[in-house]
């Protein structure tokens, strides 16, 4: 039911049951919000969206108050603006004065508020809470002094992802947000997905930076530096250079990275093809031998850590395949070094990922071979963009180039891994070929290409009728595990990504992404697959060459040695 309300002396249409904020947004009136998270129940904690409603003695929050027919609202009256401004000044009164040194300088919501509300004077000097930052984590650095307690990270960790590591601790102005017992984050159940960073309005949460290590390696002539960048990064990094969302700039990226001094530049899509090939072989073997089923995907390190913490008894269900990043890393340090006569000791492998958990993954003790780690340093999309900018490269003026041999070709299946559901779609294609010997005829599997939290598809392959499920948060993974333990047996493969929507929305991506940008990114990935000439990993000539010249066959002894890994139970407070 629609009715009209009066806002700033003008009439706008409102719908029964919606909040004031929703009515205002539809009418193009912008009210600032801070704690508001679309789709989640309003907590009304930040008071930034307050408006004046005639007949109410106090200001009310637009995000939580249902719109009513009698309302006469003022969204920017002096009283309202003064209230917002004072509240921002109060936040600033307990905030370190180090914007220039801050991670989020120029991309900080608090800074933006202060600017928009014209805060130009420190009206409330006072004691500030002194907290030390916590650099212990492999991926995420927590700096409670900069936290303004909006609670978005806590809700993301709990309601969106389901890891439930971050929580409010204490009360009142001594409240802080942190892992249980306010311990170091590396001792906690944090799955390092980095979505809390994406949610944080300030610099209170950010990734652990590794770009400076890289700079030294690049300028050391003895060291052979190799880049291995995720197919997702090339789709999103353009946004950091002011390009429109959804533009895949892998060619430009290849060129730019070479200019910064990388000796070789590879696209991890090749690793993805390899991953799918090994995974399909493993699936087939498990189906034939009747081994542990269903299989859970293992390419999301955040999910792997979650499983090691919460479901140690389910670890045999995890695919033993390393992730594409690690697979390609392992191949680079073995096959590639052998091929080009490079001393593996002088090799320095960098990967650029849309992800913070990959930083953790690269440090796993299982991810080394003969004392050499598969990947030395992992950068996020954000760090890579900063790194390119630091090296004075103008991405607008660069001619695209191809990735380096011997991993210069990829199938579009590899590209699909960027989005949630992609692993499954790619796996179905390869597995179908392995089992039936025929190409999978369906060009796209519509059931997997939607943005629902839970997706499921049943596919017939030869004599097998196989069930595939896709979830993109660990909360739903836990629910599925409970169902499986309760006897559910129609599923054979379950793809788990920790981040909603998959890597395309990963914790290492540009901050401040809106839904429209996310949609364009996904569209680009699917369009690439729809148009690509090589759509099946088993038709990737470079991959065929790798198996022919080096690995032998999927699940062969060398594959098992280099491309597969093990998991172990983790003892952390849950």
């Amino acid at each position: 039911m629609n009715f009209t309300i009066e806002v700033n002396n003008k009439t706008i249409t409102a719908r029964k049951g919606e909040t004031i904020l929703e009515a205002l947004e539809r009418s193009g009136i912008k009210v600032p919000t801070l704690c508001h998270m679309p789709g989640l129940y309003p907590t009304g904690s930040c008071r930034m969206c307050v408006v004046e409603v005639e007949g109410k003695s106090n200001l009310i929050t637009a995000c939580s108050y249902p719109v009513e027919e009698w309302m006469k609202i003022r969204t920017h009256s002096p009283r309202v603006v003064n209230a917002r401004k004072t509240n921002v000044e109060l936040l600033l009164s307990n905030h370190p004065d180090d914007c220039l040194y801050c991670e989020r300088n120029g991309n900080c919501e608090l800074q933006k508020f202060a600017e928009d509300l014209n805060v130009r004077e420190r009206r409330f000097p006072g004691k500030k809470n002194k907290y030390k930052s916590d650099p212990s984590g492999s991926s995420i650095v927590r700096d409670p002094a900069k936290c303004i307690l909006c609670g978005r990270c806590v809700r993301t960790c709990d309601e969106v992802i389901g890891a439930v590591t971050l929580g409010f601790i204490g009360r009142g102005n001594k409240t802080i947000i942190g892992p249980p017992f306010n311990k170091q984050i590396n001792l906690s159940s944090c799955i390092t997905c980095g979505q809390c960073i994406m949610a944080c309005p300030t610099g209170a949460l950010h990734e652990k930076k590794h770009a400076s290590d890289l700079q030294n390696a690049l300028h050391n002539p003895d060291i052979h530096v190799v880049m291995n960048y995720s197919p997702t990064v090339s789709v999103t990094i353009g946004e950091k250079f002011g390009m429109k969302p959804g533009r895949d700039i892998h060619g430009i990226l290849n060129a730019a990275l070479r200019k910064t001094g990388f000796d070789r530049v590879f696209d991890t899509s090749f690793g993805a093809d390899l991953y799918i090939t090994e995974l399909a072989a493993e699936m087939e073997q498990r189906l034939i031998k009747g081994e542990t089923l269903p299989v859970f995907s293992s390419d999301c390190p955040a999910w792997v850590k979650y499983a090691e913490q919460w479901h140690p008894d389910m670890l045999p269900h995890l695919s033993s395949c390393k992730s594409p990043q690690q697979m390609l890393g392992a191949i680079i340090s073995s096959y590639y070094t052998k091929l080009y006569h490079i001393n593996p000791d002088n090799l320095y492998t960098v990967s650029a990922m849309p992800c913070t958990a990959k930083k953790f993954e690269a440090q796993r003790e299982q991810m080394t071979h003969k004392g050499i780690s598969d990947v030395d340093v992992v950068l996020t999309t954000r760090e890579l963009a900063e790194f390119i900018r630091l090296n004075g490269i103008d991405t607008e003026q660069i001619e695209p180039e191809l990735a380096d041999k011997p991993f210069h070709v990829r199938s579009s299946s590899g590209k699909l891994l960027s989005v949630s559901g992609g692993v499954t779609e790619a796996l179905i294609r390869t597995l179908h070929y392995r089992i039936t010997g025929k190409d999978f005829s369906q060009a796209k599997i519509a059931e997997l290409r939607n943005n629902k939290d839970y997706r499921e598809v049943k596919i017939k392959m030869g004599d097998h009728k196989l069930g595939f499920a896709v979830v993109s948060n660990v909360k739903l993974a836990s629910r599925l595990i409970a169902e499986i333990k309760a006897g559910r047996d129609d599923l054979h493969f379950i793809e788990v990504m920790a981040c909603p929507g998959g890597c395309i929305n990963g914790g290492g991506q540009p901050i401040g992404t809106d839904n429209a940008a996310l949609k364009s990114r996904v569209k680009t990935v699917y369009e690439t697959d729809d148009k690509d000439s090589i759509r099946y990993p088993y038709k990737n000539p470079a991959l065929i060459g790798l198996y022919r010249d080096f690995l032998g066959e999927p699940l062969g002894s060398l594959s098992l040695e280099l491309l597969h890994t093990t998991y172990k139970k983790r003892e952390v407070p849950l």
């Binding site: 439930v164 929580g167 409010f168 009360r171 249980p180 017992f181 159940s189 407070p573």
Partner: protein, 154 residues
């Protein structure tokens, strides 16, 4: 071997989240404080994340995360006690014991807790040591009371 904690937890196993506070209260009552281990085990039993339990426990003044002293001194700091100068009682107690409120002396003998109001405003200022009350105090009375505790202990 099941210990006291198991016994308490087992009594609450069938219960829901809304019984978390009574459970924490009972555990603290039995063990004196909430240890990390207690919280972990409560979480495992009730299928609740420790971050949530810890978050809840730290919200409320009642819960302690270190053992309290053998003599637990509660000092009332309600309005009535305040205008009867309970702030000076607090200062004096802290001075004598050389600890701050919320802390426990190193020998584990004394701990100080400042409470909002004991509801004995008519008899202010009031302190309580292990549930024994002392009312109408002056700062100079504190030393004697603490010495008394020490003597009793010996």
């Amino acid at each position: 071997m099941p210990d006291k904690l198991d016994e308490i937890i087992n009594r609450h196993l069938h219960l829901q989240r809304d019984n978390l506070l009574p459970l924490l209260q009972e555990v603290q009552q039995a063990l004196g404080y909430l240890s990390e281990e207690s919280i972990n085990r409560i979480g495992a039993a009730l299928n609740l994340n420790t971050s949530k339990i810890y978050g809840v426990a730290t919200f409320y003044d009642q819960f302690r995360f270190e053992p309290k002293g053998r003599f637990h001194i509660q000092i009332c700091h309600g309005t009535a006690c305040h205008i009867e100068k309970s702030a000076r009682i607090i200062a004096e107690t802290e001075r004598i014991l050389k600890i701050r409120q919320g802390q426990t002396t190193r020998d584990g003998m004394f701990s100080i807790e400042v409470v909002n109001c004991m509801g004995a405003c008519a008899l202010s200022p009031v302190i309580a040591i292990n549930d024994k009350y002392y009312s109408g105090l002056q700062p100079r009375d504190i030393k004697g009371i603490i010495d008394q505790c020490k003597t009793n202990e010996v």
